[in-house]
């Protein structure tokens, strides 16, 4: 089956929702919005099953938008996407494509990180919003960045006992960051409000998790602190070191990628959110981690540009630049302590899909760096179900070159979905 649209938007988080709504306001524009999840909202506006009840979601888009839920892009060409849905595959033809595929959490290897009970900080937040039972459980929140506060506040609201929040950045650096927030008063106010909700929860700086301890599940974490190693008993560890753009679809389409701030690739765009590919635009986290406010304004610019409303898009560019300056302020403040890059031991698994230990990769270090391709072929690192999304980002963060470029299918796929391009249109 093939459907044709003027604008197809991939990803229904803040950027995608804004893009779809803006594009749908165009006269007669046919707009489709697709997302792998059952509900729109992305990660940041994910509906909270227990707390939000029937409350209307912030994830709104006009009735003029065709909504494709539970739809995963598995392949893409210059004018068509192949999407897999619960009941089969569909081809979506597009004139303009807006990529709003968001970000995932940066998860770094340390001894014990594969134990059940160790979760991404955003990941546990997402699970709990979908009714994962957390009440009464002892949770250690650790890693880096503003996301830790948001995660801790949500977990506490759901009845978790948040034992402590451990931020790897020093208190001094955090204070400087806080003063800098004066330029973004709304954000500063959000931070204060979050801190108030977390009254009574210890917030410690210059501390990071060195190891997770347990047999078949997590029992405790070992923390590196300025006063030495400390062990804390817990049921859950929620850990996150920030976010990484989901650039895989953009990469397959041939969009130019650039690095930075930091080592991870993002999609290069101009002032109109246009990528290096003529009919492909990108907005939000995939253009560099910037948060929901940045994503919303960029999504709107992309949607307007896609339907040719450049004058309206231009009116938003100053706001976009202001939001991006804030993102740079955050990125600079939460740089990782190099000791965190050195936590993996030779027997610590790097590739969780194929169970490849860090020691097996060390053999592929050369004088010019690290031969990712040889390592992948010899060890299967990055060849499992996640297709290197977890270990690939970790390897790049640790200072190595990514194993190899992304190739379709973008996700493990049913064979029947891959035969869809060859099916007759009457099917």
């Amino acid at each position: 089956m093939t459907e044709s649209y003027d604008v197809v938007v991939c990803g229904a988080g803040p950027a995608g929702l804004a893009a779809a709504s803006a594009a749908a306001a165009g006269v007669g524009a046919r707009v489709a919005l697709i997302d792998a999840n059952a509900h729109a909202g992305g990660q940041v506006w994910r509906h909270d099953v227990r707390r939000d009840g029937a409350r209307r979601s912030r994830a709104a888009f006009g009735s003029a938008v065709s909504w494709y839920a539970e739809s995963q892009v598995v392949a893409a060409t210059a004018d068509e996407l192949l999407i897999e849905r619960p009941r089969g595959a569909t081809r979506l033809r597009y004139r303009k494509l807006v990529l709003a595929t968001g970000a995932r959490e940066l998860l770094l290897p340390f001894p014990g990180w594969t134990l059940p009970g160790v979760y991404g900080a955003g990941g546990l937040q997402s699970l709990v919003k979908q009714s994962w039972p957390i009440a009464g459980q002892r949770v250690v929140v650790a890693g880096s960045g503003p996301l830790l506060l948001a995660a801790a506040a949500l977990l506490r609201r759901h009845g978790a006992h948040v034992v402590g929040i451990h931020e790897q950045v020093s208190a001094r650096r955090l204070r400087d960051f806080g003063w800098g927030l004066a330029r973004w008063p709304k954000t500063a106010w959000t931070a204060v409000a979050l801190r108030t909700k977390l009254a009574g929860v210890p917030y410690r700086c210059s501390e990071f998790v060195r190891a997770a301890v347990g047999d078949e599940r997590l029992r405790a974490v070992e923390l590196e602190t300025p006063a030495g190693l400390r062990r804390i008993d817990c049921d859950y560890l929620a850990i996150g070191y920030g976010l990484v753009p989901n650039v895989e679809l953009a990469e397959v389409l041939g969009c130019r990628l650039v690095a930075g701030p930091g080592r991870h690739a993002r999609v290069a765009v101009d002032d109109w959110q246009e990528t290096s590919i003529a009919n492909v635009l990108a907005a939000g986290e995939i253009c560099g981690i910037g948060g929901a406010a940045t994503a919303s304004v960029e999504g709107r610019i992309a949607g307007l540009t896609a339907i040719g409303s450049r004058r309206e898009a231009a009116a938003l560019q100053a706001r976009q630049r202001h939001a991006r300056r804030f993102a740079a302020h955050v990125a600079a403040a939460f740089q990782l302590d190099p000791r965190i890059h050195g936590l993996a031991e030779p027997d610590t698994l790097i590739c969780r899909c194929e169970d490849v230990p860090f020691g097996a990769l060390a053999a592929f270090a050369t004088s010019e760096g690290w031969d990712g391709r040889a390592a992948k072929l010899a060890t299967r690192c990055g060849m499992g179900a996640c297709q290197g999304r977890i270990c690939g980002a970790a390897i790049v963060e640790l200072g190595f070159r990514a194993p190899t470029a992304t190739a379709p299918p973008l996700f493990p796929t049913r064979l029947s979905s891959l035969t869809e391009p060859f099916a007759t249109t009457s099917m």
């Binding site: 990660q43 099953v49 539970e70 009970g117 699970l127 979908q130 039972p133 078949e216 997590l218 969780r352």
Partner: protein, 85 residues
Amino acid sequence: MNREPVQLWVNGASVVVPAGASVAAAIAQALGVGASFRRSRSGTPRAPLCGMGVCFECRVEIDGAPQQRACMTLARASMRVRTDD
């Protein structure tokens, strides 16, 4: 949206979750804290990590279909879910 709780089966045991809950949440509720969802290639226990469909650590069998991401699948009435032993 239907707000009725949903009854489904995890490893043969009945579990009831709120409407909109994920299969991952149903498994956690049925099997308890620190439950393993799958065994890795070398046999170590695994549970969800990313919670958003990226890491594939939460793969389970749903209604006979193997390798389904529990965190991305909504719990639906009478679903039959199996984790690795």
